[in-house]
């Protein structure tokens, strides 16, 4: 039970999770990304045509609208460096693996810090709980406030504000879940496990409801089709759930095995010493 043992297992879990996430994102999410890009391009084309006819080209280039929208999507836009085929296969795999490895390692090290410190939970159990809390605080609750958007939703002009809001909310959520877990463990001594867990969960919920009210709402959906938006967001949630779920399952299994092996060794040593 060392930090190194946890990190290695976290990276293994992250690798498996990254691969699984890629397959889920590719099969469930990509069809809706393609639909969104098709809508975006037909919309951009429709908007560009009159612009082209009524203004000179310099105005269009300076306007930035067609630029910010077409640069990402592998059409014949001037900034395109990566084809759609690469984006939805190797690019998506790169992103999934990188995020999987990073999250797997971080979750494992947090789990390493909490074993033996969460009431009577066994190492595998506390690891599973940490992953669950990570999913709720880092992925699920931020998603509820700032859901994922497909290409074509979201203006390039507001990316700065949206990024600051999103990560600000993530930071509040993660700090709150850490504090709530700490408070729950402290209250557990006085109120028992039931009381501690209810108090911690209620505290997290209360803070996040208030934060959700205080943080500005982002709505740049416009007249984007509701069904495609819902399908994309549902697919995005499946993608995130796959990432965290696989990290949790694999890491819990590996940590449980590690602890079982260590316990068995200790028992054998104790038996040998008693003879």
């Amino acid at each position: 039970m060392t930090a190194r043992a946890f990190l290695i297992r976290g990276l293994i879990a992250g690798l498996v999770a990254g691969i699984a996430t890629f397959f889920v994102a590719y099969s469930v999410g990509e069809p809706h990304v393609e639909t969104a890009i098709a809508l975006e391009e037909s919309g951009t084309a429709a908007e560009e045509a009159p612009t082209d006819a009524s203004h000179d080209h310099g105005d269009e280039a300076a306007g930035g609208h067609s630029h910010t929208h077409s640069h990402s999507h592998g059409d014949e836009g001037e900034d395109t460096e990566v084809s759609r085929d690469s984006q939805r296969t190797w690019g998506l795999l790169t992103g999934s693996l990188a995020v999987g490895l990073a999250l797997g390692g971080i979750v494992a090290l947090v789990a390493a810090g909490t074993i033996g410190r969460m009431g009577r939970l066994q190492p595998g159990q506390s690891t599973a709980l940490i992953t669950l809390l990570g999913f709720v605080a880092f992925a699920l609750v931020p998603f509820l406030k700032y859901p994922a958007n497909p290409p074509a939703v979201g203006s390039g002009d507001t990316i700065g504000d949206r990024t600051a809001l999103y990560f600000g909310f993530v930071v509040v959520s993660v700090l709150t879940v850490v504090a709530a877990t700490y408070v729950a463990l402290r209250l557990r001594n006085r109120l028992g496990t039931y009381g501690g867990v209810v108090a911690g969960a209620a505290g997290y919920l209360a803070v996040m409801v208030v934060a959700g009210q205080l943080f500005a709402t982002v709505n740049e959906v416009g007249d984007f089709p509701a069904d495609t938006l819902w399908f994309f967001r549902r697919a995005s949630l499946f993608t995130l759930a796959t990432m965290w779920g696989v990290i949790g399952v694999v890491l819990t299994g590996l940590v449980g095995r590690l602890y079982a092996a260590q316990t068995e060794r200790a028992q054998r040593r104790a038996l040998a010493a008693s003879l």
């Binding site: 690019g91 490895l101 090290l109 410190r117």
Partner: protein, 72 residues
């Protein structure tokens, strides 16, 4: 019965902990590395650019959208 199970059985140690001092360098190193990796996939060449160009943004574009990060 409850007393029996409360007493640690010989050879079945209570759950071990990892001292925070031993954990700190790992957490610091990998915490920074992991955060940097998450930053490059989720944000770089969007709202904030550490590296010039759009190549990283383009390459991880679909992952950025599907993992729920703000993108253009």
């Amino acid at each position: 019965m409850s007393q029996v199970s409360a007493v640690p059985v010989a050879g079945a140690p209570s759950v071990p902990t990892i001292p925070f001092g031993q954990l700190a360098p790992w957490a610091l190193f990998f915490g920074l590395l992991g955060t940097l990796v998450l930053f490059f996939v989720s944000t770089d060449q969007g709202a904030v650019s550490l590296l010039a160009g759009t190549a990283i943004h383009e390459w991880v574009h679909d992952g950025r959208h599907l993992l729920g990060y703000p993108c253009h």
